[in-house]
Each structure stands twice: as structure tokens, then as C-alpha cells.
């Protein structure tokens, strides 16, 4: 028997989707309502004027805070969508940010350069992003493992090149594009209306979580989980692994471009969204949060973006500035802190944030048993 050894990425640390594991009896009664509760809290949050010094710069309902929160929510959703590939199906794609970028630039270009009304631009963008995901997926999924990771990375690079080269002045090159507000509904324009964007971002997050949850509970989701464990076995059961992976890839791509639409309204288009850094960050978010779990990637995405934004402020704060330069300079770099935290997490928290509860449980019992 000879095995041809091809470089393959082993499946990511397979976390068990919590809906497929035997539940924890104590939480059973309460748990289904927790997400709803969180959603309600998030919806009414903008009515609060609470000031959390150190956590946010202004009160909760200030436009600055709301915009930051909205960005975090978008990335929570983006990470949850990416997890459909990485955590739930076991595909290591390095090109997911491309579909997000398609959403961002698609909206900006269609609104600003073409002059379409927002809803049409959004619709075209999401449909286009989904079709693109289907096409690129159809090619990339002919390969597996490391080769798949490389192809997706290269496809994402195409996005970066197209944006940077600024063909026909469409993308604005390094400057990026700001949305032409004249084409937008007035409720989404202006600092005072940030709260509407926040709600929009929240709706996006809720939509992604709902879709991902629904899909992973569906017959197809069962197949995806099977693919993560043993692709060959799925074939022997009579299912075509390629079709199912393509469906997951396309769906995740579509969700990402929808996220891009929201982000475009929030921040506008900048070439940063096409960088390989962002695509790597998505992986960081999911792994930090806990791949294959319902809330892990969401939390990972939110936390990552929060730190990414707040660490800059933290870095320029007096507390950090008073440190010697060899400490204060790196600490003022969000990516340095996040990268380091991520490396530590890979070593010490392989299951991500979502595994904290199970990991802390023995600790808490030991502590509480002490006299």
C-alpha cells in the first residue's frame, strides 16, 4: 500500500458545535433565552447615556462609541460567517476578506461612481459577491489542504491588486472611496444618525448568527460537520464533498459581502479591507473566540476589533507614554498586542474564549471548595 503524501492542512481543532453535544442540564432552561436577552440589551443600548471611562471615550450613545460598537458588530458577524468555513467545515481559507472587500467597494462604487440608489447597490453587491464566491470556490475547491489555503490567499491578493491599481479611477487607489452621501437615504447620513448604522450593524450580526446557526442545524450542516471530520467517509456515504464545500464557501462569501455593504456605509472604502492582514485577522478572531462554536467567533470578532481600535488610544494614553520607550512603542501598536495575545492563546487556550467556561469550571470548583 503506498500513500501519496501531499501537503495537507489537518482539520482545525474540531470544536463541537454546542447544538450537537449533550446539553448542560442546569443551563438548559435559561440558555435559549440568553441570546435574545443579549439582543434586546444591544438594541436598547443607544438609549443609555452611561459613561464607561477607559472602556469608551464618550457615553454609550455618543456617535463615536456607537460607530466603534457598530464596527465591532460587523466584524463579529464577519467572523461568524468565516467560521462556517473554518470551524464548521474545516476549510482553511485565506481569501475570505476578498468577499468582504467586494461588499465594501461594490457598494461604494455603485453608489458613488454609478449613482445607483443604496438598496439597488446593496442588492447588486451582495448578489455579485455571492456569484464571485461561487466562481472562485468552484476553482479553489478543486484543491485541498495547503494548496486550497494558497489559492484563496492568491485570489485575495488579486483583490488587493485591483484596488491598488485603481483601474479606471474606480477604487480611488490608496485614498479609497468615501460614499457619496447624496445617493443615500437621509436616515443613514450624518453623525446624528450613527445610531441607525449601529442598528443596521446589529441586524447584520443577528442575521449572520441566525443563518449560520440555522444552516449548521440543517441536514446540510450535518454534512459539513462530517466533512470536517472525514471527507473521504462523506464520499463513501454517497455525498459529493465538493458540492457541499462549494455551498458553504458561496454562502459564507455572500454573508461576507453583505457585511461589506454595512461597513461601507459605516466607514467608507479603504484599501485596508483588501489586505492580507485582514484575512489573517479573521482567522485570529475565530481562533481567539473558539472555532465551531456559536458565540465564540462572534465574541472573537467583537473583541478583536474593539482592541484594535481601543489599543491605539490606550497606546497614546499617559499611562503607556510614561513607560520606557521599548515598552510604550510596541504597546501602542494594536496588532503587536493582538498578535502576541493570539500566539499565547494558541499555546494556552486552544479552544478559544468559548472554551473558557469549561476550562474555568474545575478551577472555580476547586476555589469554592476551599474553606
Amino acid at each position: 500500500m503506498t500513500e501519496v503524501k501531499s501537503p495537507e492542512v489537518p482539520a482545525p481543532p474540531a470544536a463541537v458545535p454546542d447544538e450537537l453535544t449533550p446539553g448542560h442540564a442546569r443551563w438548559h432552561g435559561l440558555r435559549p433565552y440568553l441570546p435574545l436577552l443579549a439582543l434586546v440589551v444591544a438594541v436598547i443600548l443607544p438609549y443609555s447615556t452611561v459613561n464607561l471611562p477607559g472602556v469608551f471615550e464618550g457615553p454609550l450613545n455618543s456617535p463615536g462609541t456607537l460607530q466603534l460598537l457598530a464596527i465591532c458588530l460587523v466584524f463579529g458577524g464577519l467572523a461568524a460567517g468565516y467560521d462556517l468555513l473554518f470551524g464548521r467545515t474545516g476549510m482553511l481559507s485565506f481569501g475570505h476578506a476578498l468577499f468582504f472587500a467586494v461588499g465594501v467597494y461594490g457598494t461604494a462604487i455603485l453608489v458613488t461612481k454609478v449613482g445607483l440608489p443604496l438598496w439597488q447597490a446593496a442588492l447588486f453587491t451582495v448578489v455579485g459577491g455571492t456569484i464571485l464566491a461561487a466562481l472562485l470556490g468552484a476553482v479553489a475547491l478543486r484543491t485541498v489542504g495547503i494548496a486550497f489555503a494558497m489559492v484563496t490567499l492568491a485570489f485575495a491578493q488579486v483583490g488587493a491588486i485591483l484596488v491598488a491599481r485603481n483601474f479606471g479611477g474606480l477604487t480611488g487607489g490608496e485614498e479609497g472611496l468615501t460614499l457619496d452621501v447624496s445617493g443615500l437615504p437621509s436616515a443613514l447620513v450624518g453623525v446624528a444618525n450613527t445610531v441607525n448604522l449601529y442598528w443596521l450593524a446589529l441586524a447584520y450580526l443577528a442575521l449572520v448568527v441566525f443563518v449560520v446557526h440555522r444552516v449548521s442545524m440543517s441536514p446540510t450542516g450535518r454534512v459539513l460537520a462530517g466533512l470536517r471530520d472525514d471527507e473521504r467517509r462523506i464520499g463513501v456515504l454517497g455525498l459529493d464533498p465538493y458540492r457541499f464545500k462549494l455551498v458553504a464557501f458561496t454562502l459564507a462569501g455572500g454573508l461576507a459581502s453583505a457585511g461589506g455593504v454595512v461597513y461601507s456605509l459605516l466607514v467608507g472604502a479603504s484599501p485596508h479591507v483588501t489586505s492580507s492582514e485582514l484575512t489573517l485577522s479573521l482567522l485570529v478572531m475565530v481562533v481567539l473566540g473558539g472555532p465551531g462554536t456559536r458565540w465564540g467567533p462572534v465574541l472573537g470578532g467583537i473583541l478583536y476589533m474593539y482592541l484594535d481600535h481601543r489599543l491605539t488610544a490606550f497606546g497614546s494614553s499617559d499611562a503607556v507614554n510614561s513607560l520606557p520607550a521599548f515598552l510604550s512603542h510596541p504597546l501602542s501598536q494594536p496588532l503587536f498586542v493582538l498578535g502576541t495575545v493570539f500566539i499565547l492563546a494558541v499555546y494556552f487556550f486552544p479552544g478559544g474564549l468559548a472554551s473558557l467556561r469549561t476550562r474555568l469550571h474545575p478551577l472555580l470548583t476547586t476555589l469554592s471548595r476551599r474553606p
Binding site: 500500500m1 470544536a15 453535544t21 450535518r222 471530520d229 472525514d230 467517509r233 463513501v236 455551498v247
Partner: protein, 247 residues
Amino acid sequence: MLATRGLTWRIGEVAIVDSVYLDLAPGEFLGVIGPNGAGKTSLFNLITGLRRPTDGRVLLDGEDVTELPTHKRARLGLGRTFQASSVFGSLTVRENVRLAVQAHRGGSMKLWRRAAADREVAAAADAALDRVGLHHRGTALAGTLAHGEKRKLEIALLLAGEPRVMLLDEPMAGVSAEDVPELVSVIKSLTGDSGRSVLMVEHHMDVILELADRIAVMHHGALLACDTPDTVMANATVQEAYLGESL
């Protein structure tokens, strides 16, 4: 039912599977024996389409399936188990079988239905679990099962697909001696009623002798003999080549 015609797989100069002609009649149980490295697992891989033969054909119900991918052959009723247990480790035992049932019945490409709501799938899965005696382990994660239980689960996965031809690759490998009789009776129960054909690789001669209608002997990739157990055991060539050279 299943036939191979001059099936050959070479790596470079070496023939791993060497011009094998096999015929499996409906309802027949054919045991395959042969020393390590004789090409038995490779033969299975060729029949199921996990590898492409260098030469020769695979026929299912007289139809040429040599060019079909694995999943299409499975849908035509060709099921198999693997030498090293391969179950879906991060799913529960019940989810494992439900996945197999759903794969067989169709409707796997449904993104917006609750999988758990399909009573028919659930019932069929439970029936398969019952048959292999794993019902009580339904909520355990498959990855945490003991080895013998994984073997049973694999057979349940196979059963769920209601295959007409089953390929069993060393189902007893790594199973402790105490568990062998139970597993044998499970396998026996699969075949009695249904007109299902079985091709089984196994090293336990007593198991083969108990189950098989005919025995095929492989050696250096080639089929040395294929006949009733008595004839094979009495065959001088087989005696000398297989039994004399290998344990």
C-alpha cells in the same frame, strides 16, 4: 452484482493490484485473504473509486462504473468500511448514523430545515443503531467510543445506506477477542435476509470460514484462487504460497 475485469493498479513498475478478475453474485459472501501487502485494501480502494486503476474495469450490475467518483458509486449501492475506523469523531453516535441515513435518502442539500425535525431519518438511524447494539450510546461523541464500539458504529453507518454490495475491510482488526463473536453475529445478521452481497477482507481464518461462501486468496496483488472454503483450504498452491509463507 459486482465484478472486476482485469483490475490493475501500478505504482511505477510495481503492480499493487495485478489483473484481478472477481465476480460477486447477489447474496454471496466472499472472503478475501492474503498476507500483508497483498493488495487487498488497494483492491477495495479501486472498487470504491478512492483510487483510479491503471487498467481494467469495475462493473456494478453489469454497468461500467470505473470512471464514476466515489459518491456516485455509493449511490448505486456500494458501501464500505475502512480498515482503520473512520467515524465522524466530533459528532454524537446518533448524529453519525443520521448523517448516513440522510445521505442515503437524499435531501442533504437542505440549508433551511431543522435536521433534527426529520422523524423518518431519526427512526431509520435508531433502527440501524439497534441492529448493531449501540442504541444506549446514542448521545456519546463518536470520537470517545471504545474501539469495538467504533467498529459497530461503522457497520451502522454502512447499514444506514442500505447498500446492495458491502465491502468490509478487516472489520475485526483491533477488536479484542471477547468482542469478536458479537461482531461476527452482527455481520451475519446483515447478510442473511437481504440478498446483499459482501466482500470482506479478514485475517481471522475462523471468522472467514464461518461467514464466507467462497474465499479469494490474494498474493502479490494477484488473485491466486477463488473457490469454496474447502477447496481453497485443500488447494496445494494456496497452502504453499499463502499459508506456508504467511501467518
